[in-house]
């Protein structure tokens, strides 16, 4: 096939730059329109190196020897735009004269689109990360408002079914003279103190299988046996209670403000549910809660009071003092007892 014939065919290949160079000295024999547009029309006798100075001729030669093809990329500045041209050099199969065909494709658009996709995906990824963080923040917040199992139900179904727990225990703590303290101190001081103490209580509660439900002013309410049923709920609240007291005693030794608390324990049934639609609050209701609240009022400062009905579950681990029969509002006459740390705990702390 003559060069003229090749020429005619190639010229029809619109958009693809084609040139033919001699294999031995890499001199141009032919080039088409697009090629000339990108690299300038090679003058007679010009070599590959002169027209495409960015190409390493040695690389071309070694690639030709090894694979029979050289692939590369060249940037050309055309007006203001930097074009990216993919270059492919291969030998023709003309056995006599060793000719190389230089094929050039304009891949600028592809590169531009790749850049845009990179740019966009980095935006999206950053947004996704932000959303993820936001989701975690919301989740943490909701987990402060309700137990995890309740949160999972809420997340899956959008509602929380009120659930009756037959047998749970409640620990309710209230500070002595809190109102007076609050009146005499800057609110930030009061808040700082409560925050510090309640944070410690939360840790104790968690450690002993209780879950803090809420704080109301200076009152602290935690439950055991819900939403996860537990056979140990009475011991759990008693353990929390004596440790709350122990924590306060220790804290009072080193802190400027001394706090004393009364604690009531209650046991019985309770209903747990999210209350409200816009402002979610997970709350518990029921006799166990009421009882704990009532008994807390019977407690002397730094004492824990529980109904006698909890005795058989606590007697092994705690030191119990009978308080006799008392009239408890809306519960009637009821035998009460004081719950003190057992021998083991007392020995461990060296106190009480």
């Amino acid at each position: 096939m003559s060069i003229t014939a090749i020429n005619q065919q190639l010229l029809r290949a619109i958009g693809v730059g084609i040139a033919v160079v001699r294999g031995d000295d890499l001199q141009f024999l032919f080039s088409n329109g697009p090629f000339a547009e990108w690299f300038g029309k090679p003058e007679a006798g010009a070599s590959l190196q002169e027209v495409l100075p960015d190409i390493d001729v040695d690389d071309v030669r070694s690639a030709m020897e090894q694979t029979g093809r050289f692939n590369g990329e060249i940037s050309v500045k055309l007006k203001r735009r930097t074009l990216v041209i993919a270059l492919s050099i291969s030998s023709t199969d003309a056995e006599a004269s060793d000719l190389l065909v230089v094929e050039c494709q304009n891949i600028t658009r592809i590169r531009e689109l790749e850049s845009m996709i990179d740019s966009y995906s980095s935006m999206v990824e950053r947004n996704t990360r932000e959303l993820e963080r936001e989701k975690e923040r919301v989740e943490r917040l909701l987990l402060n408002l309700m137990p995890r199992t309740v949160y999972e139900e809420f997340k899956t179904f959008g509602v929380v079914t009120p659930q009756l727990y037959e047998s749970v225990s409640v620990v309710m703590l209230d500070f002595v003279n809190f109102t007076k303290f609050a009146a005499n101190h800057d609110p930030t001081v009061t808040l700082g103190e409560l925050n510090d103490i309640f944070t410690a209580f939360d840790r104790i509660a968690e450690q002993f299988g209780c879950e803090r439900i809420k704080t109301i002013g200076d009152a602290y309410l935690a439950v055991a046996g819900m939403p996860e049923p537990s056979p140990d709920h009475m011991r759990a609240v008693a353990n929390c209670a004596v440790r709350f007291i122990r924590y306060l005693e220790r804290r009072n030794q080193s802190h400027q403000y001394k706090w004393e608390a009364r604690i009531g324990l209650g046991t019985g049934s309770a209903v747990g549910s999210v209350v409200g639609i816009q402002k979610y609050v997970y709350d518990v209701f029921g006799s166990a809660v009421n009882l704990a609240a009532r008994l807390q009022a019977f407690a002397n400062p730094m004492c824990v009071v529980a109904p006698d009905s909890m005795k058989e579950f606590l007697v092994e681990e705690f030191h119990l003092d009978d308080l006799g029969k008392q009239e408890v509002r809306s519960f009637g006459e009821m035998r009460l007892m004081r719950v003190n740390p057992g021998i083991e705990l007392s020995r461990m702390t060296g106190r009480f």
Binding site: R81, L113, S115, M116, I117, S119, Y120, M123, N127
Partner: protein, 122 residues
């Protein structure tokens, strides 16, 4: 309000075409094309993708401070800014944006005029 434009006109699928056409127009413009001469292509594309996405309320916010820094060394005039505005408005129109929505975008870009034209401050 313009939050919706990005999604209203088909999200990234369509916006990518707008960015590409806008990029072409800007480079071809004899008035402002030279400002973009010599800027690394990926950088310019990145800038325009984010800028247009931000104007249309897409998933990016481009702070005025960032715009200021990007343009501070260019010494742009109000006429240059108007040209960009015009090119963008043309591009949006070619891509089927309603005149009202183009107006919204023009208000958005106008709000950034001072940041883009601010010079010497970095």
């Amino acid at each position: 309000m313009s939050k919706a434009l990005f999604d209203k006109y088909g999200g990234f699928k369509s916006i990518s075409r707008i960015v590409m056409d806008f990029y072409d127009k800007v480079l071809d413009s004899d008035r402002i094309g030279d400002f973009f001469d010599g800027i690394d292509m990926p950088k310019l594309i990145d800038h325009q993708t984010k800028f247009i996405s931000a104007l249309l309320g897409g998933p990016v916010s481009y702070s005025d401070e960032r715009l200021r820094r990007a343009h501070a060394s260019l010494d742009l005039t109000h006429e240059d800014f108007d040209e960009i505005r015009l090119l963008l408005s043309e591009t949006l129109s070619e891509h089927g944006f309603s005149p009202q929505d183009i107006d919204k975008v023009m208000i958005e870009i106008e709000a950034r005029r001072t940041s883009i034209l601010a010079t010497g401050m970095s």
